[in-house]
Amino acid sequence: MGYPHPRHPRETPVLSEHFGDPAARTLAGWKARGGYQALEQALAMDPVAVQNVVKDSGLRGRGGAGFPAGIKWSFMKPDGKPHYLCCNGDESEPGTFKDREIMRWTPHALVEGVATAMHAIYAETGYIYIRGEFTEPLEAVTAAVREAYAAGILGANAMGTGRRLDIHVHKGAGAYICGEETALMNSLEGKRGNPRIKPPFPAVAGLFGKPTTINNVETLTAAAHVVRRGAEWYKAMGRPDNPKSTGTKLFSVCGNVARPGNYEVTLGFPFKDFLWELCGGAPDGRRIKAVIPGGSSVPILTAEECEAVFMDYEGMAAAGTLLGSGGVIVFDDTADMPRQIARLARFYAHESCAQCSQCREGTAWTTRILERICRGEGSFEDLDTLLEIGEQMSGKTICVLSDSCATPVASGLRKFRHEFEAKIGRKQGKAFVPSAYPTGLTPAAAGSAP
């Protein structure tokens, strides 16, 4: 598994193979480990051929959206305009910490992936946007880019092909919303990180108004592997009965779990085995109560619900949640769900860019109600209000930060309502005794007055 724990035999290390190995960071070290063969191969191919390999492999965006990478690349046509590639290294989704490991342990893998993609989309300039807090990844990637220029891999004559490939590292300054692709472009342009209305889509008018492709760090790194080892190799990994989710994915595991860290498994891996066998379940003999499987913006699963889930896009969707960024947040039976959901709402309220009325006001309102409930000053009406606010925040805004705030509140209230109800009336000294979890009984039905 990813650094700092030893690898589990059921993992499939592709991107994480060299995590924890400082020698892999240098150009020489990377080349010794098979590095830059993919780029060399790609540069000898027609861009469309590179697009097709990635398309064929079924590689889907690993940042959270899951859009097929090869198809995204194919939107870029040779039209004589400057094209841009943006690498999204703004990893800020709570629970997710895989891109930082890729960047600090195998920065050349990222540089290679970015350069490969640039060739495939007819771009001469690529920007690697790394969040400002990622001190070590910034240093590692900046050093790798410098080494690549010095070795002639990047620059006016990339690898001697006469092709220009320029990569610049751009440091963010503290904004989760800049991980949204259009907000990232605005941030790169020196503006507030406000998401843009689509259309126009980035492939038509993106960075500086030119055709642009934005890809996640993990996606680009995986793409280089696909180009080198072939689509068939990538497609062979995954559930045999689900060809829509192929390859491996890094899952970042954190929270109340025995062995937190990044795990790389093939898509479709059984979640039950993953949580209890690979990750060790909850620490100190406690019991897992809930899991958010794909970064904080996806619906919460109860421990029971996790047992039948497969870890791929379709499997998670079938369970009523999403694969998302693959950030697995584990809550054990000591976790206070209302408090933690309130803390999540506070995160979204802090990060809202303030454009859309629903998000700007709704995230803050949701947070205030939840915090008031946690202080024991809530009412049963507040629970209904939270759900209605969440409805009004969903599907109505420029980007999905608003929806992302509503999601854990809605799923939390649906699956852990008793924990919220237990806090109602606490301050006034009244106790509502929740029935055995979870039954969805209302106070009236239980016979006690609110």
Binding site: A175, C353, A354, Q358, E361, D382, E391, K396
Partner: protein
């Protein structure tokens, strides 16, 4: 019984390729491709409620108020930012869209202070209006509201952050239309507010428009602060008299006093805007030191109040007896007044005027819009009526001439020339102090707020202004007084209506050919000779 249609004729003609056909609230609409659903809805007579959208500003799509239900779309679409497509069926007032708007209104109100009783915007507030129409009747918000103190943005503008709904119209106006980007959105989330950099204020000549653009009471005019309630005001369409641009405005009065000037939209002249000069210079319309009764010089050589009939007769006698008549006519007079003055002036007389000038202040993002150097509304009209512009117009006076001062300001003129005049007649709104001892007859007239007429702007556009308030004392409309004087001088019948004057004017001046008073509407029309006299602006 009609003959059967020829089989070759199509049942309904296909639309011309350059339009898009869709249905909005059941009403079929045909618009050019690229039109937004919101604009297309206007054609159907359907108002899609909105805040951040404004036809003069780049689209932002942030308020989310204009979300409409387009059939077959997976989500509600922002009407201001969604282009029409053939066959779209759009619902603006169905359950889904109304529910979404109810949500936006609720969100906008949670931090909004209960300021209506003390907020200037009350009565003309779009938040009030839409909430009454479609918002919740109660508030579910139980938390403390966000608070920020009031800020002076400079110029005439106050910013009340608590009331701000962050529609960003002001930011977009200053950066795109005024091209003086002094406003921004500061901070994030519900801590956001409209900010500006230290030392950069809203002193731009057109910055006051942000007050009009603001849908709520967040941006206020200091001049209008706490002065009047919107529902107490009477409103009349008028034309700004601050310069020769001729921006269309509304004069708002309460109890016969002009208390505010706001722009009226006219895409041929001022788009949706007015500058600070026009907006803030209306107090002169309320001045009390007016000529209120006709005056005729009495035996003691002192002007004495007289009845209109006598005064008109005296004026006509004095003017007709003039060896030579010089008419000093204000460039702030209407075309009608100037035309009748030209009749009084006659072929032997001379007409002169002076116009105050000042620095031009363009609104860069609007086509051909500026505070013009000529600080009077009708210099063009005066020229068309045969009056000549002079820096020192009284230099035209020769010994023994009769001088008719038609509401012309004497400030800045070399008044020594007055000694050359034989008789002096004043027809205007005030009697200048320098003339009290010399005037033979003084006839009181209305100012621009008290009568109706037309002005011709620097581009030759003729625009009507309407009466907004009653004149003091016995003052009468300028055209009416001049008409009576001209008739008494034997120079044509006194017209009954301003429209009659205009018709006569148009008859005598080919440049105005084809224009009728009624045909001018409230947005005006260009004269035939539309090239500005004497070169550029």
């Amino acid at each position: 019984m009609t003959a059967p249609a020829s089989p070759a004729a199509p049942a309904s003609p296909p639309p011309p390729p350059s339009t898009v056909r869709l249905t909005i609230e059941g009403i079929p609409v045909e618009v050019p491709p690229g039109t937004s659903i919101l604009e297309a809805a206007k054609q159907a007579g359907v108002l899609v409620p909105h805040y951040c959208y404004h036809p003069g500003l780049p689209v932002a799509g942030v308020c989310r108020m204009c979300l409409v239900d387009v059939e077959k779309f997976p989500k509600l679409a922002p009407a201001c930012a969604t282009a029409v497509a053939d066959g779209q069926v759009v619902h603006v007032h169905n359950e889904k869209a109304k529910k979404a708007r109810e949500g936006v209104l609720e969100f906008l109100l949670i931090n909004h202070p209960l300021d209506c009783p003390i907020c200037d915007q009350a009565g003309e507030c779009e938040l009030q209006d839409y909430t009454f129409q479609e918002g919740r009747a109660d508030s579910r918000y139980r938390e403390p509201k966000r608070f920020n103190p009031v800020e002076d943005f400079g110029g005439d503008v106050l910013y009340v952050p608590n009331r701000c709904i962050l529609c960003t119209r002001c930011v977009r106006f200053m950066s795109d239309v005024a091209q003086d980007p002094v406003l921004n959105v500061s901070e994030r989330g519900d801590r956001a507010f409209i900010g500006k950099a230290e030392g950069h204020d809203l002193t731009h000549a057109w910055a006051g428009n942000v007050v009009d653009l603001c849908p709520v009471g967040a941006l206020l005019s200091k001049d209008f602060l706490n002065k009047a309630r919107a529902w107490e005001l009477d409103r009349s369409a008028s034309v700004c008299t601050g310069c020769s641009q001729g921006c269309n405005v509304v004069l708002e009065t309460r109890d016969n006093v002009v208390v505010r000037v706001k722009p009226r939209s006219n895409t041929a002249v001022n788009q949706y805007y007015a500058c600070e000069t026009g907006r803030l210079h209306y107090r002169w319309m309320n001045r009390r030191d007016r000529l209120e009764v006709p005056l005729v010089r009495g035996e003691a050589g002192v002007p004495m109040p007289a009845a209109w009939e006598q005064a008109i007769a005296a004026a006509a006698r004095t003017l007709a007896a003039a060896p030579r008549l010089v008419v000093l006519a204000s460039a702030g007079l209407s075309n009608e007044a100037l035309y009748l003055l030209s009749r009084i002036r006659g072929p032997g007389g001379e007409g002169v005027f002076r116009v105050e000038t000042g620095p031009e202040a363009p609104l860069a993002g609007a086509p051909d819009l500026a505070l013009r150097a000529d600080r009077a509304p009708n210099g063009r009209g005066a020229e068309l009526m045969g009056f000549a512009r002079h820096d020192q117009p009284l230099a035209a006076l020769q010994a023994g001439d009769t001088l008719l001062v038609a509401d012309h300001d004497l400030a800045g003129l070399d008044l020594a020339a007055l000694d050359r005049a034989g008789e002096i007649v004043v027809i205007g709104t005030t009697l200048p102090g320098e003339l009290v001892s010399r005037v033979a007859v003084a006839l009181p007239t209305c100012n621009v707020a008290e009568e109706e007429g037309t002005f011709t702007n620097l581009r030759g556009r003729v625009q009507r202004f309407l009466q907004a308030k009653a004149a003091p004392g016995e003052a009468r409309p300028t055209w009416s007084v001049l008409g009576d004087v001209a008739e008494a001088m034997g120079r044509g019948r006194a017209p009954m209506l301003p429209a009659d004057v205009f018709a006569a004017l148009a008859g005598d001046h080919p440049a105005f050919g084809g224009l009728t008073y009624a045909g001018l509407g409230l947005r005006g029309l260009p004269v035939l000779d539309a090239a500005p006299a004497g070169g550029t602006s």
